[in-house]
């Protein structure tokens, strides 16, 4: 069976981030995915934190993935961090040690991404779990980048309503202009938006059970996710938004969705950053640029994440 398994060479672009951290843990544990690098972008917290948090994950996982620094702020919008859901350090207050010899500066994320994509001759996939500033910047600097990217699986957007605003999901709202560039790029896109990620629910019991394994990965899972769990109103559980993109990349059979035309609104007043999706309207866009993931098998999702976290 292993020989028939499709392997994906992936670049992770993250704003780590409580759920980004779990996404990275899952990606590394999935045999279907081969991580070539991680790039950090400002988002849930500032760039210096998302950069160092990715390095901390390296240390926890015992890996040595290259980690690159990307954009410090969105292209045009003021920066909106998400301390409420991620804590001030981005990991829900969980303190993780850094590896030794942390470089102060690195090659720029977009340069490293382009170089690697070209080197791999079109096989590289991107999993993006933060604002799309780094990828948008890479597209602006390297117009031929789309030829070398097999697809982008992203956590962001929504075919219906938002969470950061009534119309917009956080990652797209954070940098709608860069997101617009990505959605117009022609690169095959998989949009794991709120339509599906709001169904990726972990209850407090799930967190306690998974954390009870006691390993560093299991403890991080439990401890870091307590912050977003407690930040929600209604308390139906914490949504593991970013891990959806990672699991979709490796195990699409757990999900369902539909091809659609998706455009990012960058000129609205109340709709800034809305991913306008033409799934249910009479008038469609003249393009279909994204596979919009709409649902998942929650039980299988929770079970898979548990297995992956427990594999450490």
């Amino acid at each position: 069976m292993k020989t028939e398994m499709e392997r994906h060479i992936v670049w992770l672009d993250c704003d780590t981030g409580t759920d980004d951290a779990q996404a990275i843990l899952c990606a590394n544990a999935l045999p279907e995915l081969e991580i070539v690098a991680i790039s950090a972008v400002a988002g849930n917290v500032e760039l210096e934190k998302t950069y160092r948090n990715a390095l901390r994950l390296n240390r926890l996982m015992g890996t040595d993935f290259p980690v690159y620094q990307g954009a410090e702020k969105p292209w045009l919008q003021p920066q909106h961090t998400g301390y409420r859901y991620h804590g001030e350090n981005g990991l829900g207050g969980v303190e993780l040690p850094l590896p030794e010899n942390v470089p102060e500066t690195t090659k720029k994320a977009w340069d490293a991404l382009y170089e690697k994509a070209k080197e791999l001759g079109g096989a590289l996939e991107i999993i993006a779990t933060g604002p799309l500033t780094n990828i948008g910047t890479a597209l602006m600097k390297y117009p031929d980048l789309p030829r070398f990217i097999r697809r982008i699986v992203l956590m962001g957007g929504s075919a219906t309503g938002g969470n950061r605003t009534p119309a917009a999901e956080y990652n797209i709202f954070a940098d709608p202009h860069a997101a617009d560039a990505v959605f117009r790029s022609g690169i095959p896109l998989v949009m794991c938006g709120l339509d599906v990620t709001m169904q990726a629910i972990f209850t407090e019991e799930d967190l306690i059970r998974i954390g009870s394994k006691g390993t560093p990965a299991a403890r991080l899972f439990h401890d870091a996710l307590l912050t977003p769990l407690r930040a929600q109103e209604g308390g139906e559980g914490v949504k593991l938004h970013d891990a959806v993109a990672v699991l979709y990349a490796a195990r699409p059979e757990l999900f369902w969705g539909q091809m659609a035309g998706v455009a990012v609104e960058t000129r609205g007043t109340v709709t800034m950053g809305k991913t306008v999706t033409d799934l249910w309207s009479d008038k469609k866009f003249p393009f279909k640029n994204a596979f919009v993931v709409l649902g998942l098998d929650n039980e299988a999702f929770v079970r898979t994440v548990q297995e992956l976290i427990w594999s450490y």
Partner: protein
């Protein structure tokens, strides 16, 4: 039961489903139509006004009819001839108008109706909200006389005329914005519910079997509407506009949820979108301004329509 009927102003752009909304109101003892105002939308203002007078003649509605502006507040008209035909009400032959047109404009007639009423009046709006928007601008003092605006338009989840916007809102987003900011209680029958308020072939057969002249006209209207929607992939004909009336008559047929609805008047893709937020569901604090219909007991809704048609004697 001997309750006083709810006084209403019908603001409409007939349109097959507007005609059905008028039919439902006129049939209901719970509703008293005090005035009808027309707007351009499904067709030009001349055609929707002519259609309104023909419908009133057919149904025996004797309320005054006021004609609206030739266009939306700020932009050029958008019509829906592809859905309702060149006349705006294609299908069966209708009687020529035997009811007069008021010398008052739509907004004047609305204002007069509100002023003369002892109790607050409900506005049933089944077209673009140009007239109601203009009324609120011209007569802010009459706001307390508007009990509620029960409107068909928008969609919390998505649009139809564009991916983000529903037709009635897209035609006049500024007017809709004025209405939703007004503070007047709003019942919103958007696509969320109206696409579930489907008339199917068997339902039309039920109406045709009633055998009266009006039932034949209604069945022909519905056939026309049904054929069009089947062609573009619908399972049946969505009876958008009657939902705004049914919500007043039989609220128990609907799942209703309170939302804070904002109208996007700008945007490259979102002009005319009705952005809905429920308290606690996003990072922004919101106070609801509209009760939105999100689902319907389809069978109960169809029964209401059939019974309304049955109530006409000829």
């Amino acid at each position: 039961m001997n309750r006083t009927p709810i006084p209403v102003i019908h603001d409409c752009d007939p349109g097959h489903d507007d005609a059905m909304a008028l039919l439902l109101s006129q049939a209901a003892p719970e509703i008293e139509i005090r005035a009808i105002t027309t707007c351009c939308g499904n067709q030009t203002i001349e055609k929707t006004t002519y259609n309104t007078r023909r419908i009133c003649t057919l149904l025996g509605i004797d309320a005054p009819i006021g004609m609206g502006r030739p266009g939306p507040m700020l932009q050029d008209p958008i019509t829906a001839a592809n859905i309702h035909g060149q006349s705006g009400l294609d299908g069966p032959k209708l009687p020529e108008p035997a009811v007069p047109l008021s010398t008052l404009s739509a907004v004047e007639l609305m204002a007069k109706t509100l002023e003369e009423s002892d109790e607050p009046v409900t506005i049933i709006s089944t077209g673009p909200m140009t007239n109601t928007g203009c009324l609120l601008l011209a007569h802010p003092e009459l706001k307390p006389k508007i009990k509620r605006i029960s409107m068909m338009g928008g969609g919390i989840k998505h649009g139809n005329w564009s991916p983000a916007a529903e037709f009635n809102i897209l035609v006049d987003p500024e007017a809709a914005d004025i209405v939703f900011r007004s503070g007047v209680p709003i019942t919103m029958a958007g696509l969320d519910v109206t696409l579930k308020a489907l008339i199917l072939e068997a339902d039309i057969a039920r109406i045709r079997a009633i055998g009266t002249r009006i039932s034949q006209v209604v069945a022909d209207w519905l056939d026309f509407f049904y054929e069009f929607h089947r062609k573009i992939g619908y399972r049946g004909a969505p009876l958008h506009d009657p939902c705004a009336v049914a919500a007043l008559l039989r609220p128990e047929l609907f799942d209703m949820q309170d939302y804070f609805v904002q109208i996007e008047t700008q945007g490259e893709f979102c002009r005319g979108a009705t952005v809905g937020a429920q308290p606690g569901k996003t990072d922004q604090a919101v106070v609801p301004n509209a009760t939105c219909l999100m689902d319907v007991d389809r069978q109960g809704f169809v029964d209401l329509i059939v019974e309304a048609v049955e109530s006409y004697e000829n």
